[in-house]
């Protein structure tokens, strides 16, 4: 079974600064996907970024980038130029490549962006 661990329950960052959210996972699979999802108070989960494990290049999406370390089973999210609208819960998630999109989520990190 897969497990996803987020060890930072809460993080705070000032507007325009950079913050990194940590995630580690455990799996015996060699091919899989990793995701970061954002959940604002509206409760709707929004995909932030996705990484395929077979790709060595770290994924980037505008201000969001990841540091994927496959051997260490680490998948951190870096948010640059933080904005007030980034305030939300952030969940790291794992999906086997050969299965339909059955996601295994971590417990989340609450990010607060302050003025």
């Amino acid at each position: 079974a897969q497990t996803v661990t987020q060890s930072q329950p809460e993080m705070s960052v000032q507007e325009a600064e950079t913050v990194t959210l940590s995630c580690t996972y455990d799996t015996s699979e060699s091919n899989y996907y990793l995701f970061w999802y954002k959940q604002p108070p509206s409760r709707q989960m929004i995909l932030v970024i996705r990484q395929e494990a077979y790709k060595q290049q770290n994924a980037t999406e505008n201000r969001f980038s990841v540091n994927f370390q496959k051997a260490a089973k680490s998948f951190s999210l870096k948010i640059s130029d933080s904005q007030l609208g980034d305030t939300a819960m952030y969940f790291c998630a794992f999906m086997k490549m050969r299965a339909a999109s059955k996601l295994t989520f971590g417990t989340g990190t609450r990010l607060q962006v302050t003025l």
């Binding site: 409760r43 709707q44 989960m45 995909l47 969940f91 339909a100 059955k102 989340g108």
Partner: protein
């Protein structure tokens, strides 16, 4: 529709009552998923449909939980004889085929008193 729609947004039930939660996926999406999110936790997988076929129900916590998608579009998650531990947000998600981007609804928050 424009997105995944779930209703009701909030549901309060007395312990022992039956409830039904509805999910309207994005039109044309073949795959539909239900997740349960307890307070302060990440979502946990409940069940998965491909069209009308329920291909995986390994996450349903007990036989009080039942899900259906009879015509391959709208899905209903039914919980019989609700218990306090069933209190959670129930999220529905859909995708075109199953491994592409998942689109989530805003969930139904169920409170069992």
């Amino acid at each position: 529709g424009a997105g995944v729609s779930q209703s009701p947004r909030y549901k309060v039930a007395k312990r022992g009552q039956d409830v039904a939660l509805r999910c309207d996926p994005i039109s044309g999406h073949v795959s539909l998923f239900w997740y349960q999110q307890a307070l302060g936790q990440g979502p946990e997988f409940l069940t998965y449909f491909q069209n009308e076929a329920q291909l995986d129900k390994s996450g349903l916590p007990s036989d009080r939980f039942f899900a259906e998608r009879p015509e391959g579009s709208v899905s209903t998650l039914k919980i019989q004889r609700t218990q306090q531990e069933d209190s959670a947000v129930y999220l529905c998600a859909s995708s075109l085929q199953g491994r592409e981007k998942l689109f989530f609804g805003s969930g139904t928050q169920l409170s069992v008193l």
